[in-house]
Amino acid sequence: MRRAKALGFAALLAALPAWGQDTTSSLVEEKVPVGSPRTGAIVLRLGGYRPLIDEEEALNGATPYKDTFGDASLLLFEAELQRFFYQGIGTAGLSLSAGYGEKYAAARLSDGSKAGEQTALRVIPLGFNLFYKFDYAAFEWGIPLVPYGKLGLIYTPWWITKGSGTEVVGGNQGSGGKWGWGATAGVAFMLDVLEPRFARDFDSDLGVNHSYLFAEYIYADVNDFGGGGLNLSSRRWMFGLALDY
């Protein structure tokens, strides 16, 4: 009996280490998320905006914009908030954007010489866009270029000043708003590939999944859908920074 007890105790001791061991068959492979969830993006861009005012049919070839401001463009700054509603083979979503641009020049005297006060054209382009970006290749195959496109509605409040106030001509206030549409095509370079570790820290610390530098071409018709009046349409390049969060 004593021998049986000793054997039993020895068997128990021998079994103890085995309790802490997992067999291969009992391992369950769990996927550990490598980044925070992506829900949207913040986009900041800058570029020259030269409205096609001189192409208004009623002007019959006259060029008031060029005569006043020359060939220079307005410097336009825009911010855009994007919300993703599809993330699979690429990313799709909706976005809202708002910008501001202004251009100053000397007002003119009747003989064409420069007056002592300034005149300015100011615009605040607002946009509501549907977009798609093909970032599948970047995420799955490590190709850091992301082509994308947008299509949307544009509304651009504008006003023209002379001196310290809005210019009035023939009783009409030089301010208003124009509706239009725009299409955008661009390509973004994913900066994560340059500093992967920094990109991971950026995500874990601030929730920014990916960052991009981009260039895009915008085709915008902003003339109340052909309704006449001030033509704020443009064909322009914009450049900027995008942050997925």
Binding site: T39, G40, I53, E56, A58, L59, N60, A62, T63, P64, Y65, D67, T68, F69, L81, R83, L96, A98, A105, A107, R108, L109, S110, A115, G116, E117, T119, A120, L121, I124, L126, F128, Y155, P157, W159, I160, T161, K162, G163, S164, E167, V169, G170, N172, Q173, G174, S175, G176, G177, K178, W179, D224, G228, G229, L230
Partner: protein, 299 residues
């Protein structure tokens, strides 16, 4: 050693919160200089005080000095003008009590002050400080160190008119004139457009604009294009002394802004109503943005 440290700490913490401040003629902005001239000689300025963070253990001293800073007490040798002191009981709780500075007793008129004659005949320009000091109780002991007024109020007695302001440029604008002026640093400048009488008389003032010597730019608006106006600038210092500039002339001219150029070229934009629609659209976009962001915050 530990007690010494604690004692120093207690002393320091008390001293940090102690403030003695003055107002003169109820002007609380201590950066503002109170200007006086010969016409104010019969006037009196009321001085009030506020002591916070401490309890007075001696009468409070008040005086006016020409020195560049306030000392612990008036220095009669340099001609400081001492006001009646304030009793201990009234330092912390002055109620409606005040002291008066008699303008004709300011320390700038007597020969010993460097002035000459009396207030009404003096030709001086002197900035003075209104000072106060009081000793406070510190751990049941009257401190040896006086608490001085935090920021002395500045009083300037000035009978000298400022230098003549200069009209550097008159820029013709549409129904307006832009005037660039130079004047003594602390002066206010009023620029006036006058339509001279046909017989060469004084004429009628049709537009004025006030600026400062620092800004130096005035806009005369509401003028008629093609009419020549006489432009003058009057600089007034803080004491109320003033000097006129030499007259200059300017003629407003019609100018065309971009909208005029656009309409003149045949443009059909009339603006106006579009702005109202745009306001609605912009409001809708902003509302959508706000809704979107609020949804994001909740999720």
């Amino acid at each position: 050693m530990r007690f010494l440290f604690v004692g120093l700490l207690l002393f320091a913490s008390t001293a940090l919160g102690q403030t003695l401040s003055l107002t003169v003629d109820n002007i609380t902005d201590t950066a503002k200089v109170i200007g006086l001239n010969g016409e104010d000689c019969g006037d009196k300025l009321q001085v009030r005080w506020t002591l916070t963070g401490g309890v007075a253990c001696q009468d409070m001293l008040l005086w006016v000095t020409k020195d560049s800073s306030c000392k612990d007490a008036p220095v009669t040798a340099t001609g400081d003008y001492e006001l009646p002191s304030v009793a201990i009981t009234s330092v912390n709780n002055p109620g409606n009590l005040f002291r008066e500075i008699e303008v004709d007793k300011l320390p700038v008129f007597a020969a010993t002050d460097g002035g000459a004659g009396t207030c009404s005949t003096a030709k001086v320009e002197q900035t003075m400080r209104v000072c106060a000091s009081v000793k406070l109780t510190n751990v049941n002991i009257c401190s040896d160190t006086a608490l001085r007024v935090a920021t002395p109020v500045l009083v300037r007695f000035d009978t000298q008119p400022p230098p003549k302001p200069t009209i550097d440029a008159v820029s013709p604008r549409d129904s307006a004139l832009g005037v660039t002026v130079s004047a003594e640093a602390d002066s206010t400048v009023v620029v006036t457009a006058t339509l001279p009488d046909a017989d060469g008389g004084t004429g009628t003032v049709v537009a004025t604009d006030e600026t400062t010597a620092v800004e130096g730019i005035a806009n005369l608006e509401g003028l008629e294009n093609g009419v020549t106006y006489q432009v003058t600038a009057k600089a007034t210092d803080v004491a109320g002394n003033s000097t006129d500039s030499d007259p200059s002339e300017g003629t407003p001219v019609k100018s065309d802004g971009f909208y005029e150029a656009y309409i003149g070229a045949g443009g059909t934009e009339t603006g106006g109503c579009g702005a109202a629609g745009g306001g609605l659209a912009g409001g809708a976009v902003l509302a959508a943005l706000g809704f979107w962001l609020s949804r994001r915050k909740q999720s």
